[in-house]
């Protein structure tokens, strides 16, 4: 096990013909076929956590300053002066706060998609980056929560949403879409945090065994006394299987319910039966774009990560992004087509406003970066395997998906059935607050990357144990054994 070497059924693969791929080629291409001793992988991961350059601290301090200004100072100012200093006003009572809420919930979908759906389907390429994606889910939901609290204005009354009666025994109305939001987002936040923690326990135990000082104390507490006994693994495996299946419908429900905040209203542009799946696909679109950005940054900036995160992973995620982009385009057109064909006067007015209004450039930019660019780039295997290229595509998709939410929320609210109220939304303090949440997300991620193992080493080793090469005639192929 320490050696962790693969047993190739035919080690003589290099003599198999001109088109034959050598064992070395497979090792370079696939992490699962390039095993290192477990102790060495542990050291690499621990080393990546302990190594921080001056650049890391410069970015960290800068982001901390942005968070202090954007999140805490600006929010404090809004609490003191009231929601009036935000740009939300008649008829656009929902502005960037809710754009950001939907955006961050969308980002949070990637972790579950990668960790749960790919686990259920036993997609082996997921192994080294499940945790990196799961962290995005938890930290993204934290930002979504902040954005909702900002939107509330009187945030100190947030507890009114909690399911308990007031003095007159009047309970919150759980038949209202906004109460569903509370239930769905709380369920998703708790579930995804638990799902992040469970597979982390063995790696925390590894970190405990490899650390000294305050880190050892921290990991000792967090590892909960895990040793890796048969019983502990059995309980953990069972729980992870239950989570992998059960969290998928929870993930779908969250963004569907968010979409119902809009679709349940009889407004032009919002009243759509397709909003549920359209929002879910949009969430996956931005989430996958964010995952690939995070992986490119982690690979490029953290020590030893080039061993764990390889072009094969960008290639696989790139394919998923391409499929999701196509699906998003399908849903977008479906939603557009039915509304356009319906011929409702106000809806047609709104669609025209999207394309030819003062922010029409945003509508066209959304289509270019969400559809045209991913399709033009991601079809090419070489391009989608190149980290900096997919980083740019992921960044553009996220900009495009933020535009999409901006078009759906404040821009669509500008046009309604009462033309005398029409007014274009002008954001105010929402901008520093939005920047604050973005900076806080990155800051949390940077801190986490130095405190918890970003690579699930035991999952990587398990995958490497299951992979081998097998010869069919003159062709050598990768095979995977089912170890569970």
């Amino acid at each position: 096990m320490t050696d962790n070497k693969r047993h190739f059924e035919n080690p003589d693969v290099s003599h198999a013909g001109p088109h034959h791929k050598s064992e070395e080629h497979f090792r370079e291409q696939h992490l699962m076929l390039d095993p290192l001793p477990r102790g060495q992988m542990n050291e690499m991961v621990m080393d990546s956590m302990h190594t921080t350059s001056w650049k890391f601290w410069v970015v960290f301090v800068t982001l901390s300053a942005i968070v202090a200004w954007g999140l805490f100072y600006s929010w404090g100012k809004m609490i003191l002066e009231g929601l009036g200093i935000a740009g939300v006003n008649r008829p656009s009572y929902w502005g960037i706060f809710l754009v950001n809420t939907v955006f961050w919930i969308g980002i949070s979908h990637a972790g579950t998609f990668i960790s749960a759906i790919l686990r259920v389907f036993k997609a082996e390429f997921r192994r080294p980056f499940t945790r990196a994606a799961e962290l995005m889910t938890t930290f993204g939901l934290v930002q979504a929560g902040f954005s909702i609290f900002m939107h509330m204005g009187r945030v100190w009354l947030a507890y009114w949403l909690m399911p308990y009666p007031n003095e007159r025994q009047l309970w919150p109305n759980f038949h209202s879409p906004l109460s569903w939001d509370l239930l769905a987002i709380t369920t998703y936040l708790l579930s995804s945090t638990m799902y992040l923690f469970l597979p982390l326990i063995p790696d925390l135990a590894m970190a405990r065994d490899k650390s000294t000082g305050w880190r050892k104390t921290l990991y000792k507490i967090l590892a909960l006394g895990f040793r890796g006994t048969e019983g502990e693994w059995t309980h953990l495996r069972n729980a992870m299987n239950i989570f992998a299946f059960a969290i998928i419908p929870v993930m779908f429900s969250v963004h569907t319910i968010v979409s119902w905040d809009f679709a349940a209203a009889t407004r032009p542009g919002w009243s759509s039966t397709i909003f549920g799946p359209y929002f879910v696909v949009g969430a996956l679109h931005s989430g996958m774009g964010a995952v690939i950005m995070v992986l490119a940054v982690v690979r490029g900036t953290m020590k030893n990560m080039k061993y764990f995160i390889r072009p094969e992973h960008f290639e696989a995620i790139g394919k998923l992004m391409l499929i999701i982009s196509m699906t998003w385009a399908y849903f977008f057109f479906n939603d557009y087509m039915v509304q356009w064909y319906g011929g409702d006067k106000w809806t047609k007015q709104l669609l025209h406003y999207h394309e030819a209004g003062p922010l029409g450039w945003m509508w066209f930019a959304m289509l270019v970066v969400n559809v045209a660019i991913p399709w033009a780039v991601l079809w090419n295997k070489k391009w989608r395997s190149t980290p900096w290229i997919v980083f740019i595509v992921g960044l553009l998709i996220n900009v495009g998906m933020w535009f999409e939410r901006y078009i759906i929320i404040p821009i669509s609210l500008s046009i309604n059935r009462m033309p005398f109220t029409w007014r274009l939304y002008q954001p105010g303090i929402e901008i520093p607050l939005g920047i604050g949440t973005l900076a806080f997300f990155i800051l949390l991620y940077m801190a986490a990357s130095r405190l918890i193992p970003l690579i699930p080493v035991w999952e990587v080793q398990e995958g490497q144990m299951a992979h081998s090469l097998k010869k069919f005639g003159r062709e050598t192929v990768v095979t995977v054994s089912e170890l569970e």
Binding site: R38, R168, L224, G225, L483
Partner: protein, 174 residues
């Protein structure tokens, strides 16, 4: 009264560990007196060990049922605590109730699954335990509880079967 002794044998690979377990069994060591500690999940089938019992799925089901009833309370009972009848609208609407029932059922199930791991594994546990840190580096350890008189015999047998080290072990802080 026999004095019990604990031996911790460390193996570099899976196959000798599985062979050792089989051999220990032929030497009269019962499965209940052995435990395998590893850094990756090694299934019972790989080691030829009896299936481990887990209550996690049962607890998950129990949590789902509790969650369902909590959802039913919020959806059906809480509105009747202070009745507000709205003309032409159902007092308790069906489709929105499904949302509440679904979310709380799933929350109950996932919370109890998580707690199930804690209960079944006795987490958190910061008491001294029998353990070797080499397990983190990929080694497989077999923890054998045996009568004091058998210690020497078992140590020799485990070494012959490929154990890198076999040592009497005491519980220690991790």
């Amino acid at each position: 009264m026999t004095v019990e002794k604990s031996l911790l044998a460390v193996f570099a690979d899976l196959d000798p560990a599985a062979d050792a377990i089989e051999h220990l069994r032929t030497m009269g060591v019962h499965d209940d007196c052995m435990n395998v500690i590893s850094g990756v999940p090694v299934t019972e089938a790989m080691l030829g060990r009896p299936n481990q019992r887990t209550n996690v799925p049962r607890l998950a089901l129990g949590g789902a049922i509790l969650g369902f009833f909590a959802g039913a309370f919020l959806a059906f009972v809480s509105p009747s605590m202070y009745e507000i009848q709205v003309g032409s609208q159902a007092f308790v609407a069906g489709p929105p109730s499904v949302v509440v029932l679904f979310e709380l059922t799933m929350l109950g199930m996932l919370l109890s699954t998580f707690l199930g791991v804690f209960l079944d594994s006795y987490f958190p546990s910061y008491r001294p335990m029998k353990y070797v840190t080499e397990v983190s580096d990929g080694k497989i350890a077999i923890l054998v509880e045996c009568p004091h008189a058998d210690e020497k015999k078992l140590t020799e047998a485990l070494k012959k079967l490929g154990a890198e080290s076999v040592q009497p072990t005491e519980a220690q802080h991790l």
